[in-house]
Amino acid sequence: MSDQKFKVTIDNITVEVAPGTTIVQAARLIGGDVVPPTMCYYSKLEGSGGKCRTCLVEVSKGSEKDPRPMPKLVASCRTTVMDGMEVKSITSDKVLDARKGVTEFLLLNHPLDCPVCDQAGECDLQNLSYEHGAASTRYDFKRRTFEKEDIGPYIQLHMTRCILCYRCVYTANQLTDKREHGVLDRGDHSAISTCIGKALDNEFIGNVIDVCPVGALTDKTFRFKNRVWFTKPVDAHRDCPTCSGRVRLWMRGDEVFRVTARKDEYGEVESLENGKTAWICNTCRFEKKETKDWVIEGPTKVNRHSVISQGHYVNAVNGQPKLINDVIGKDPKLLLDIHKISDVNRPEIDLSQIEGPAHSDDFLPNQSTGTMKQIGKLGE
């Protein structure tokens, strides 16, 4: 029975998957716009998902055996497919309306301090709002705020930005041996915290930064040093006694500004050949900030649906679906093209071609300052 396959149809595109696959995983096999946004689900974390409700989809046919539609929208990240199931994601107005609602709820108390937030440019909430958000808020009340808190020497918790996805809680529970990171209080006053204001000092605790979809958990060794879209992601490795040592360096020129785990197009830490997740240790993340610490493999293939993918890196993979014509009735909706609205980012500038450190002057339209000499090499 192990090679049994279930047929599932999502927005009129049919795929075959193994039993036990969730709707989201099946949608990711199709790729592109039919993939529901996931703010809390993280396939590498057991038990995650089901909370944020951004991934709601309509099941218009339960299965071949029981074709009745499901009465409510379901969380696609935690609903497993049945043979013959038919799912509507972007072809359902009900789903789009619910996503709009959830986006509004998530932004309700969010500070929208993107201009000073380290996550800007690679933030799942930013991406979600571009696609599903409204232009202005209908909320005219004071937003809730919290004090910033240092949890250990390397990590800062900026609870005001948190969307309570619980990913960091699962990470701390599953990667570290003591249960010391969790949620206090309840409802809209609940907060991520450590027991009791304690520092997190586990060798793997730095991974909570990578799983955080927003800028609530940030790397203190990188805070305010640079904007992610000015740094170049480069894959590198080292022989590390604690972890796999396979990382992504975020560089400007020869300088390593930040080290993270390698993430895939859904923002999840990649898997190793042995199937384990390539979490990285604190030493690799926080203490190896020189190029000589690392064996550089080459520029990263950026294929995330995110502002950073607009940087026109070498090897950029276009995440648009090939099968979009099958999605009847809907045109693919492209991400907001940041180049069209910003003077600072310009598509003709290929970041990975800039050899020295990139500088905001590089992006000025009159090309009179900065490292424009290098741009000249592009010879357009």
Partner: protein, 449 residues
């Protein structure tokens, strides 16, 4: 005369204690049940047509038959005594005054389901009741009704009382299970349902206090006889906790053929509304169910008499009906302000949301803030539509039914009392000095006179 099956002995002095209980026919149901097979008991409960008294009204026999029975895995029965729904206080009465009825029901149900470790999860604020229950459990044990090899059947059973920490959400069955396991009381995602993976991932049945107490008369009289009492799919009797603007607030055992009008006005029950005031509205099943204006309370939209039972109260759906829910019956007279009332319910749900899912966590707070503005004369006309939009986007999109429970009262208040909301917006100053009074309709009893 109405049939009483649960509170028939409640008036007897000393009924709280084992000896009096036993002298008045107590524990005969256990004696009878332990001579039956577990499947026979489940069959009797099925025949009785008993529906869960915790709010959702799911058929108990069916729930019991869903319980998975994998070889070698212990199963559990959990009694939900978290009773925290505003307006509901019937379980408290049962546990406080006739605890042996519940203990008896628990022993029979544990035997039927194969639970040797049964738990009562009790609301934290009911601080004095665990002692009463534990005393009753000790008495039952001392008399051989609990412990090892009960009545020589080979069946072992212990009942443990666990106090909650004072969170409404821990009444939701999966949050209750998490809490019982010593974790944060967040509802679980379903499936898997507790019947397959419940307490410590073992098959579990969670039932309300009153549901389990009703098993005792079912065994005593037989499922079929029990099923004959009542109307249609509403069988047996129901405890109603009545409060608000009535002369005689309290817990009443009713039969399902009682009309709503009689329940409010008869001296046997609520005894009418004090000070000659007129009736404005009623929430018949605890704070989560839709509020109904007086003109839809005694008669359905079709003009038929409304009765105190599952079907009749929900006649007309949410447009013109409501629900029996958990039986928390709240009466509002003409001096009550629906906006203020809705605001205080919204505050409750905002405070009690566990905060796991974004529509409920953020939406409940937003609704409360908007309602506060309207109530205090700072509302806008567009706020009313915004409220409608928010509740619409919470309902059905959350992990557990608390989201729906927060959305429904707001929806129903706007549906039936929109004029009162608009009056608050248009008369911000006047609305701070007086109430809107009775709405656009008259008290149905007044018209007759």
């Amino acid at each position: 005369m109405a049939v009483k099956l649960l509170l028939d002995k409640a008036h007897i002095e000393g009924i709280r204690y084992y000896d009096t209980w036993r002298k008045n026919g107590g524990y005969t149901a256990v004696e009878k049940a332990l001579k039956m097979t577990p499947d026979e008991i489940v069959e009797e409960v099925k025949k009785s047509g008993l529906r869960g008294r915790g709010g959702a009204g799911f058929p108990t026999g069916m729930k019991w038959s869903f319980l998975a029975k994998p070889e070698g895995v212990p199963r559990h029965l959990v009694c939900n005594a978290d009773e925290s729904e505003p307006g509901t206080f019937k379980d408290r009465y049962l546990m406080e005054f006739i605890p042996h009825l519940l203990i008896e029901g628990l022993i029979i149900s544990s035997f039927a389901l194969g639970s040797s470790a049964t738990y009562i999860y009790i609301r934290g604020e009911y601080a004095w009741i665990p002692d009463i229950l534990e005393e009753a459990i000790a008495e039952a044990k001392a008399n051989g009704w609990l412990g090892k090899n009960i009545l020589g059947t080979g069946f072992d059973c212990e009942i443990y009382v666990q106090r909650g920490g004072g969170a409404y959400i821990c009444g939701e069955e999966t949050a209750l299970i998490e809490s019982l396991e010593g974790k944060r009381g967040n509802p679980r995602l379903k499936p898997p349902f507790p019947a397959v993976q419940g307490l410590w991932m073992r098959p579990t049945v969670v039932n309300n206090v009153e549901t389990l107490a009703a098993v005792v008369p079912i065994i005593n009289m037989g499922g079929e006889e029990y099923g004959k009492i009542g109307v249609g799919r509403s069988t047996g009797t129901k405890l109603i906790s009545a409060c608000g603007n009535i002369n005689k607030p309290g817990v009443y055992e009713i039969n399902f053929d009682l009309s709503v009008e009689e329940f409010i006005y008869s001296d046997e029950y609520c005894g009418g509304i004090p000070n000659g005031k007129r009736l404005k509205a009623c929430i018949p099943g605890g704070s989560s169910v839709p509020i109904v204006p007086a003109n839809l309370l005694f008669k359905t939209a079709k003009g038929e008499t409304r009765y105190m039972n599952y079907e009749s109260l929900s006649d007309g759906g949410f447009a013109t009906g409501t629900m029996l829910g958990s039986g928390g019956f709240i009466v509002l007279d003409e001096d009550q302000c629906v906006v203020r009332h809705t605001m205080s319910l919204a505050h409750f749900y905002n405070h009690e949301s566990c905060g796991q899912c974004s529509p409920c966590r953020e939406g409940t707070g937003w609704m409360y803030k908007i309602l506060k503005n309207i109530e205090y004369g700072k509302g806008k006309m567009s706020d009313i539509d915004l409220l409608w939009d928010i509740q619409r986007r919470i309902e059905g999109n959350t992990i557990c039914p608390l989201g729906d429970a927060a959305a429904w009262p707001v929806a129903a208040a706007i549906r039936h009392f929109r004029d009162e909301f608009e009056w608050h917006v248009l008369n911000p100053e006047e609305s701070q000095t007086r109430n809107y009074g009775i709405a656009h309709y008259a008290d149905p009893r007044e018209v007759v006179a």
